[in-house]
Each structure stands twice: as C-alpha cells, then as structure tokens.
Assembly symmetry: C3
Homo-oligomer: 156 residues x 3
Amino acid sequence: MRMAGEKSGKEALPVRQLKIITETLQRNTKGAGDLIDVTSSLHELLRKSGLNEGSMIVFVIGSTASITTFEYEGGLIQDMRELYERIAPSGRRYKHDDTWNDDNGFSHVRAALQGPSVTVPFSGSKLLLGTWQQVVLAEFDIRARDRKIVIQLMGQ
Amino acid sequence: MRMAGEKSGKEALPVRQLKIITETLQRNTKGAGDLIDVTSSLHELLRKSGLNEGSMIVFVIGSTASITTFEYEGGLIQDMRELYERIAPSGRRYKHDDTWNDDNGFSHVRAALQGPSVTVPFSGSKLLLGTWQQVVLAEFDIRARDRKIVIQLMGQ
Amino acid sequence: MRMAGEKSGKEALPVRQLKIITETLQRNTKGAGDLIDVTSSLHELLRKSGLNEGSMIVFVIGSTASITTFEYEGGLIQDMRELYERIAPSGRRYKHDDTWNDDNGFSHVRAALQGPSVTVPFSGSKLLLGTWQQVVLAEFDIRARDRKIVIQLMGQ
C-alpha cells in the first residue's frame, strides 16, 4: 500500500521536465543598414527563465529583416552593409517594386538569402556563443520599423 | 492511503508533456527557379498536431534545394531568381560538373549558401510568421525533382 | 487502494520523456578554405545518445566559421571556395581589418552571411539527411583554428 507522503510518480521521474518559454523582443529600427545587437537581452531572458540546458530560437517576424551572428564592432558593421549592397544593390530596380509601387525589393531579397532566424544552444545557464559572436537584428527595409523578435527557449 | 480514482502521478505533473511529431511533405518541382510556397501545408500540420506552443523545423532533404522565407508574390519570385543567378551564375562551368559529368554545380552552391532549413516558432496554435512572410521551397536543380521536406514539430 | 508493485504514475505516462544532450566536437582547421565533413561524428553522437526521434543542432562557436550542408566531394569543395571568394573577396580591404589591424574582415562577413548553425531532424534513430548531403564546417579565418562545435540533441 502507498501512504500519503510517500514518493509519488512525480518524484520517480529521473529527468527534469522540459519547458517552453516564448517571449517577444521589440526593437525600433532606423531602416536599411541598421544593425542592432540584441545579445544582452537574450542573456537576460535566459537568466530569467531559470533554464540550464537547451536551445533558444531567435526569429524575426517579417520579410525585410534578418537575424545573424557577427562580431559587433563599427568596422564590421560597415563591412556587412557593403556586403549586402554588393549582393543586392539598393540602386537597382526590382520587380517587387512594381508590384506594390514600393522601393524595398532589395530589402526582401537580402532578408530571404540571410534568413529570419538563428538557434543558439545553451548549457550551464549560458548561451554557447563565442566572446566576439553577437546575435544581431539586421534591418533591411527602407523605412524605420517596429520589429518583433520571437525568442523561444526550450530546455530544462 | 491512495484510493483508486484519486489523482495519480500523471495529473500531479504541473506542466504539459512535450511531444515530437515528424511528418514528410512531398512536392514535385519543375527544376531550377521553381519556388514553391508550402506555408498552408505547415498551418495544416500544426492544426492537426493539436500543439499549442513550440517550434517547427522545415528541412529539405538533398543538396540542390533550400528552404527560406519571403513574401510570395510574382515580382519577388523573379527577383529571387535573379539574385541566385547573380550569386552563382548557371552559365558558368563548375568543377562539380566535371565530377559527375553533370550541369548542376550552380544548384549545389546556391543551396549550400542559403541553407536546407528554417525553424519557425509557434504559440497560441499559430505559426509566428509575418503576414507577408511565407515559407518557400527553392528548387535549384536543373531537372524536375520529387522533393521530401521533413516537418518536425516539438511542443506542447 | 494501490499495492506496491502496481503501475505507478511513471508507467502511466503515455509518451516517452524528452531528453537533451549537449556535446562538443573539436576540430583543428587549416585556415580559410578548409571545409571539413563532420557528418560521421554526428551519426556517432546520435547512435550513442540512444535517441530515436528529435532534432540535432550543429552550432559552431566563433564569428569566422560557419556550418552548412553540401555534397562533400573535391569539385564542389573548390566551387564553394570560389563562391565565397566572389561574394566576399579576400584581396579587398575591410574596415574590420583596421579595427584590429588584422586581415580577416572577409572571414567575418562570409560567416555572418552563411550563418553559424544547421538543425537536422532525426527519426528512426537516423539523421534525415540526403545521401549526398553532408554537414560541413566551413573555416573562413586566415589562420589555423581549434574549433568547438556544439552538438545538441533534443528528442526521445
């Protein structure tokens, strides 16, 4: 017989329960070429979650922005802008511009190539990023935007 | 003493159990430049899963196709084709072509640069995509292909 | 009443418990253009984990390397090097080079564009990669590096 107060099924489980936490990070951007380091907010969200081991998805909603990782310093920020300009020049006419009578065709193709998200693993309650590896929101749109970045942690 | 019918260990668990569901999506493509919107199938798979919160991996099997997100409309579809053509021209001779006496070297390098997958978080039983942000299978191979896309949902 | 030896809460759970396993793979690279196939190590880590269904994150720590998938054969390895050279020429002067009086600006922009990680789903204890689709560490830095790749499995 099992007495009240004895170990129940819950305590018998050998591993910790996995949890999912979904948060939104908001950033006001200044338009094309605005590259924003969000790493410190990610560290803060991980700390508040109390999670030790798992992964964090950083996903920007929308089709004219992107998430990537690079060493966030002034010289490289300019180099990244020049890379995007070489790959998809802003001065060129894009067919997308005719669809909406807009001028952000270059923004869309840059975002599609680089992709909307990065997944960063964590362990020992630390994001496993390099010292010089920051998580960066890349704004490609031609105007200032109010960006929503979904941060989803899955772990224990 | 615990009586039959009383709450057991299962109900005592404070959080819902995480589930993994792995599905395959099949698409027949028409070869290089065929860009196929798979978003509605992803919404349907999420709905059928009954999951509320978690993430969905969309991963294309093979080395001459890719998954990305962009606004799926006719003008931008052409812009994306032109972007791929500028980055890795199809008219150029690639060393890979000599390996197999084939002509799809350009397909491989495009796929490798853009990457095979996208991970999309969901919450409130909705994929957290923007209104103009579709999930797209990019076919880069020179011939029609029968593509398998792995859709894996992890969540609660 | 429940007797000792009867099914407890643990057995009553209908699904298997999800597990997270975080490992590090170490690779010594030879500097820019070194492309290293890590797929067999990934198969081995999955096998040792005993997991059947879930996903594996392959994430390289640092800002001058990247992870992608392609068909790992000699011709394509050269084609990939030429693609990277066209996108971000190594002979060009980058502003990042002035920041640290270094010469690896091109390494950083290549890594940022391609991204630090790939997530590969698995099922039936097999990574769901194509036959000709290998997971490759791309070294972009100008010197030999001791690389740490985080491999995180989440599954059941």
